[in-house]
């Protein structure tokens, strides 16, 4: 068992938000998904106060050893999530972490209060990769914005608050320090790297949303650098992600200072990748410490 912010986890591998839809996966794989659930905790797709349809297609572009996505956070909104999705996610055999994103303190307050009040929710991840509509600053790129948001929502719940850090900054440490100072229980990193693609046929932008985020092994070295830098600067635990596709990749993140790791794009290639990587990571830890 691993202790993560007071939550007991069977192993060190969870999913990145928005990279695994347990409800859709159960439609595809049936109840075998529950018996063989690949993650030791489940992180929901990011929910917003109101429903969102998401970006127009195309939404994907394959790069060398990577994937650009421009999905646009489609979700049922807070009420739709609590009414429709949460009861189904409660059937999963692991603790539930709910990811939320607002465009103002008021929206974040509504989301945190709505989610934290449910016993089924073990922790909350704050997706801060969007602008505060009042300041126009992206919360995750501004230490001041990050700290004031944390100070606003921290008193609302005793449940662990995890701040998802963006790599789209020159230095990730100031925002990580601000999140810690504001009362975050953990940070998770990295989110995707801003990226885009050109349609080779037309020369126009390929993605319906214009730009997107790069993930997969193509970003793993960047993620490793951010994890190492942030872990040296703060004392709360880290969830490391970014291109992990093997136990060795995961072990490197642990060596760089991660408490646990998250799998994203690799699950697209193999739905059960989380279980495989958790088993491989156990072997790597034994090899290194042996």
């Amino acid at each position: 068992m691993i202790d993560f912010c007071g939550i007991e986890l069977r192993h060190a591998v969870i999913n990145g938000s928005g990279t695994f839809d347990a409800i859709a996966a159960r439609r595809a794989f049936g109840d075998e998904l529950l018996r063989e659930f690949p993650f030791s905790a489940f992180v929901s797709k990011t929910i917003t106060p109101e429903p969102r349809a998401g970006n127009p297609p195309p939404r994907l572009w394959e790069t060398p050893s990577g994937l650009i996505n421009s999905i646009g956070l489609p979700n049922k909104g807070l009420d739709g999530f609590l009414d429709h999705d949460l009861p189904q996610l409660t059937e999963l055999p692991v603790p539930l972490i709910v990811s939320v994103m607002g465009t103002s303190h008021e929206e974040f307050v509504r989301l945190v209060e709505g989610v934290a009040g449910r016993d089924e929710v073990a922790a909350i991840e704050l997706n801060v990769s969007c602008p505060n509509v009042k300041s126009g600053l992206i919360v995750g790129e501004s230490p001041e914005e990050a700290r004031s948001l944390l100070e606003r929502v921290r008193p609302l719940t005793g449940k662990p608050l995890i701040v998802k850090l963006t790599p789209n900054v020159a230095d990730p440490i100031p925002v990580a320090l601000a999140a810690e100072a504001g009362g975050a229980d953990a940070v998770s990193l990295i989110n995707t790297l801003r990226a885009t693609a050109i349609d080779p046929g037309s020369g126009e932008r390929w993605l319906g949303g214009g730009t997107g985020g790069l993930s997969g092994p193509a970003v793993r070295a960047v993620a490793l650098a951010h994890v190492g830098a942030v872990s040296a600067a703060i004392s709360v635990p880290l969830v490391a992600m970014g291109g992990i596709s093997s136990g060795r990749d995961a072990a490197e993140m642990v060596s760089a200072g991660a408490r646990i790791v998250a799998i994203g794009t690799e699950s697209f290639r193999d739905p059960a990748a989380g279980s495989r990587i958790a088993a491989e990571l156990g072997g790597e830890v034994a090899r290194i410490s042996g």
Partner: protein
Amino acid sequence: MTAGQARGLGERVVAPFGRRLCQVTRNLPAGGYRIFSALDPAGPEPAAGQFYMLAAESGWGGDQGRPYLARAFSVADAEREGSGVRLDFLVQAVGPGTSRLAELEAGEGLWLHGPLGRPFAAPDRVHDQRRPQTPPPDIAGAILVGGGIGVAPLALWRRRLLSAGIPARVLLGFRDRANSGGLHLFDCSEIRLASEDGHTGHRGYVTDLLAVLLEGDDASSAAVYACGPPAMLEAVRVLCAGRGVACELALEAPMACGFGACFGCAIPRSTIDGRHNNRGRTYMRLCVDGPVVRGDEIETALVPGSGH
């Protein structure tokens, strides 16, 4: 086929969880395409219209880093062989993923997960939600319309329909001789062909043949099933909507996972729901809500990004 299997016609088959390594057993030329087979040692028999995510065991994500993600392929034929299931896939080499799959040799490993997605529904269950009063299509009237590489899922669907005692008329269209594979999968006389270069059958589009069929007295009791390039599918959708004929279309969109995880394969839903209410712009995920959709569920079959 047993009666029990016939009752299950058109029902979604649930996939084993995780990907599994299969062995390629053959790879043959097929009219400008390739058709390769893999023996799935554990998997269930798929329903027609369902698909698998495929990746070669070696030479995938190599020096150039592409192909990286698995590629979605509908299954062209599937048959129980020993304790496993033989799966046939029709492939045309158009990019790094399809090129690697097209050169697979017998004995090589193939990673797959599946069967995935929503299959073709039995003819009596293809209702147009906008016209709930329309009598369900007569069980005698399946019309299969295929174009190019898109003939693949229709081959399996035709076999399943015939096994269930449901006659199917088949219309297939090809661009030219170099793009005319998969005909042998149909192996029947009830088949009409079109080619844009006139090398076989009607010179023109397969939808010309469909338009003639839909003029017939029994057309309104038919269920049309189509798979092919977006422009062909859109023509089928418009033809059927105009004639009041129920249709199902097997679509494609760029897809990373195949099981609803990445939200990448979104296509716009029809903004008019079954009660004629405008529900605004919403999307469906083609991998779990499709790839087979009814014509009235979508605004257009011209899916942005397909064909790549």
